[in-house]
């Protein structure tokens, strides 16, 4: 496989930076990923996400306008254990990098501007909650992790959003936005000289804005009550099943590799090529395939299977029965080889989407993973090692489920 070049630096302060080269691309991507998200310790649910919104506000106004003046686009997102700030533009590289560091490194929280943001975030949450699927996903997360931070929406709740104050944001910012939690990434078509210039500038800006250190996050492992829930009918036939994985651990030193193997397993069990799916389709219990994902976070790990059916209870029972079967009767060496091909193709395709590629690289760097090392390990893995790994990772798995369809 032809692998694009990625140049990495690590600073004494704990700050990390990398430049990923993608020759021929017009646009450049710059991002800072913070190793802190909605499920990490914070006094009020939704603080990490609120912080992500509020860092755009500076004393001079909305910093997004400064990016736009340069013809660049900027945005941010929050996940369970990460917050990412990024911008994309084809010119003004030094100015964009400077603005990005200012965005992440210069907080300006006031009582007034925090109060002003509350209804905007409440509208964001309302927008998600108007989607019936949100309620199933929410129920599954709460079953898995209770009312802990990982069990709640990234944005928090309508009530918690209104409890957030400037002082709380400042406290969270001071404790978590430190050099050891931050990873800078640039991706694009840069010359050797430009790479050096970027690193020089990043070194100065990291020193200016971020104090050294890496606070140790000691995550709790919250647990909810796994069961079946029938939720209020919202006109949708969406359902979901969650599997808690208490024995999920890195495989050959990589959580990404463990995640990939479990997703292979799910695909073998329930994907479009599986005997199970063909049977569900022939019985008209499922018309379209399930969404199959494995999610890991510091606070807990799970498999999620979601789909649409007019008879969700029957499908959920069939999923549970399938999961109870020994893996040896489900997995096959031929399919494993096909899945390796698909994974290889995914890696090759990822080079074409500059922003997604850069975000994947930044996530991997925070996890201590290397996507190309992962591809090599996967290629070398035998079928028996794969099967043994899945059996190990699935040990003591517990299941919960939820479907829409109850009365109002």
């Amino acid at each position: 496989m032809i692998v694009p070049q990625v140049i990495k630096r690590k600073y004494a302060s704990g700050f990390k930076a990398e430049v990923a080269l993608r020759p021929g691309f017009n646009e450049n991507f710059f991002g800072i990923m913070v190793d802190f998200g909605s499920a990490d310790p914070q006094a009020v649910a939704g603080s990490a996400h609120f912080l992500e919104h509020k860092l755009f506000t500076k004393k001079s106004g909305d910093l997004a306008h400064d990016f736009e003046t340069l013809g660049a686009d900027c945005n941010a997102f929050t996940s369970s254990n990460e917050t990412m700030f990024y911008c994309q533009g084809s010119t003004h590289t030094p100015k964009l990098i400077e603005l990005l560091f200012k965005l992440v490194g210069e907080p300006y929280f006031t009582t007034e501007n925090v109060k002003h943001e509350v209804p905007i975030i409440q509208q964001e949450l309302a927008m998600y909650q108007d989607d019936p699927q949100w309620w199933v996903n929410d129920a599954l997360k709460r079953q898995l992790y209770g009312n802990s931070l990982l069990g709640l929406d990234v944005a928090g709740t309508q009530a918690s959003i209104s409890q957030i104050t400037a002082a709380q944001l400042a406290q969270v910012y001071a404790s978590q936005y430190v050099a050891g939690h931050l990873n800078f990434i640039a991706a694009g078509d840069f010359s050797k000289n430009q790479v050096q210039t970027i690193f020089r500038q990043v070194t100065k800006l990291a020193e200016r804005y971020f104090k050294a250190g890496r606070p140790l996050l000691r995550p709790e492992q919250p647990a909810g009550h796994l069961r079946h829930q029938t939720l209020t009918n919202r006109g949708s036939n969406y359902f979901g099943l969650a599997v808690r994985l208490p024995h999920f651990t890195p495989f050959q030193g990589s959580r990404d590799l463990a995640q990939t193997l479990l997703e292979f397993m799910l695909d073998a069990e329930f994907g479009q090529m599986s005997a199970w799916y063909q049977q569900q389709q022939s019985q008209q219990l499922l018309n379209s395939s399930l969404q199959l994902t494995m999610e890991y976070a510091r606070q807990g790990n799970c498999l999620l299977l979601t789909g649409v059916s007019q008879q969700p209870d029957e499908v959920l029972a069939a999923i549970k029965a399938q999961l109870a079967r020994p893996l040896a009767s489900v997995l096959s060496p031929a399919q494993f080889e096909l899945q390796k091909k698909a994974s290889f193709a995914h890696t090759v395709r990822s080079y074409n989407d500059l922003s997604l590629w850069a975000i994947e690289l930044a996530e991997a760097a925070l996890d201590g993973d290397d996507p190309y090392d992962l591809a090599t390990k996967l290629d070398a893995l035998s079928f028996s090692e794969y099967q043994a790994a899945c059996e190990q990772l699935m040990q003591a798995a517990k299941i919960g489920s939820a479907a829409l369809g109850g009365s109002d």
Binding site: E68, Q88, H116, Q123, E124, K341, H346, V348
Partner: protein, 404 residues
């Protein structure tokens, strides 16, 4: 040999190659219904791969070929679109994986649909399920209702999938097959990008034989005029957010330069975070998380949409209308206009980093007369406050739709 439109251009940039086969037919409810049935069925199974599992296995064998089939609407024209995204064989160095092996699969998928009753039944169930799920989301409901009202006098153009599905109620293998066979003669083009463009071109020429490839693909008649018939609609379904859609019609056809002005105006009103309505409705009023404006050039429509706090709907609606009026009066924020133009120029340059966008541009170049030679970057630079004002003066508020 007749002159057939198959154009593969060199790919020096991407790790994947892309090939698209596009068929043009008039947009009618019947065509919309059957084109959806056909393309969706081909995503399931085809004559050479008669089960879902067989088809998926074949795609997986070819390094997870990314095959897509669907429809695109360009005003009065419906485009059946088959696209293939493949890992460049030079990235793999597997002797069994070549352009020939990939195009053999692609041409089978495209040219040999499976006109069988059980395929029809499965696909109809999938489409119905998709519509049901889409219509549980208020934003989708609002857009569907908006366009139904907008095109109540011309329902063929409403892109109404639920209504189109009614057309399929009595679909049979015979009616399905008749539709499929009729596509042999409709104007068709094959476009793509590959590292070895010459080789890919030769393989596509050997593999695709539709008569339609020799038909002229460009369509002089794309624009659907906006008929002036102001209406205001309110529906109550008790969602958490209200969906407000304001539709401004555009008098007459929108030439390519005017389309660019429309694009600039849409971004000026509700594009980035500096845009007029984003600042006023989200940042100042705190009434919304998202607000959007789009210029549907082929539909002669400028559409402004927002998901709003119920209590703030009247204020937000007033702000939107006032802002359009300000542009009509020539009261234009010049700093913002410069910013918007700069952003669009950058976006245009950045879009060339997306293979799917390049394929779409190639399709537009074949479909829309004059498009290939049109310099979009130059046109963006040439947008002035006067042009923005003239465009806005040609708009008329034609529909207000509110879903609560």
């Amino acid at each position: 040999m007749l002159n057939r439109t198959i154009k593969i251009t060199p790919n020096d940039k991407f790790s994947t190659a892309a090939v698209g086969c596009f068929l043009r037919l008039p947009l009618t409810r019947h065509n919309l219904a059957y084109a959806n049935l056909l393309t969706r069925s081909q995503l399931n199974m085809t004559l050479d791969y008669p089960t879902v599992s067989q088809q998926q296995r074949e795609l997986a064998q070819q390094y997870d070929l990314n095959f897509d089939a669907g429809i695109q609407l360009f005003g009065k024209q419906l485009i059946i679109s088959y696209t293939l995204d493949l890992v460049e064989p030079s990235m793999v160095l597997d002797p069994a994986y070549t352009y020939e092996s990939v195009i053999a699969v692609f041409s089978n998928l495209v040219q040999h649909p499976y006109f069988d009753q059980h395929v029809i039944d499965l696909t109809k169930r999938q489409l119905a399920e998709e519509v049901t799920e889409l219509m549980t989301e208020p934003e989708n409901v609002a857009y569907q209702q908006f366009f139904d009202h907008w095109y109540q006098a011309m329902p063929d153009y409403a892109d109404n999938l639920p209504a189109a599905l009614a057309e399929l109620e009595n679909a049979t293998p015979a009616s399905f097959s008749k539709f499929g066979e009729s596509l042999q003669t409709v104007p068709t083009v094959i476009l793509g990008q590959a590292r070895d463009a010459q080789q890919m071109q030769a393989i596509c020429e050997k593999s695709f034989h539709q008569v339609g490839l020799s038909q002229p693909f460009a369509s002089p008649e794309v624009t659907i005029p906006a008929e002036s018939a102001y209406q205001t609609q309110v529906e109550v379904k008790h969602y958490l957010q209200s969906q407000l859609l304001l539709g401004y019609g555009y008098h007459g056809k929108m030439p390519l330069m005017a389309q660019v002005v429309g694009l600039v105006l849409a971004d000026y009103l509700a594009g980035d975070q500096s845009s007029r309505l984003f600042v006023q409705i989200r940042e100042q009023l705190g009434a919304a998380y998202e607000i959007d404006a789009s210029c549907y050039a082929n539909n002669s429509l400028l559409l402004i949409a927002a998901g709003l706090d119920q209590k703030q709907v009247p204020a937000a609606k007033t702000l939107i209308q006032e802002e359009v009026t300000r542009v009509q009066l020539g009261k234009i924020d010049l700093v913002l206009l410069r910013k918007v133009k700069r952003g669009l120029l950058d976006l245009h340059v950045a879009s060339a980093d997306q293979q799917s966008w390049l394929l779409l541009q190639a399709l537009r170049g074949e479909l829309l007369p004059g498009y290939r030679k049109f310099d979009c970057l130059q046109a963006i630079r040439q947008v002035t406050p006067a042009k923005l004002k003239a465009f806005a003066l040609n708009l008329f508020l034609n529909e207000s739709y509110l879903l609560k």
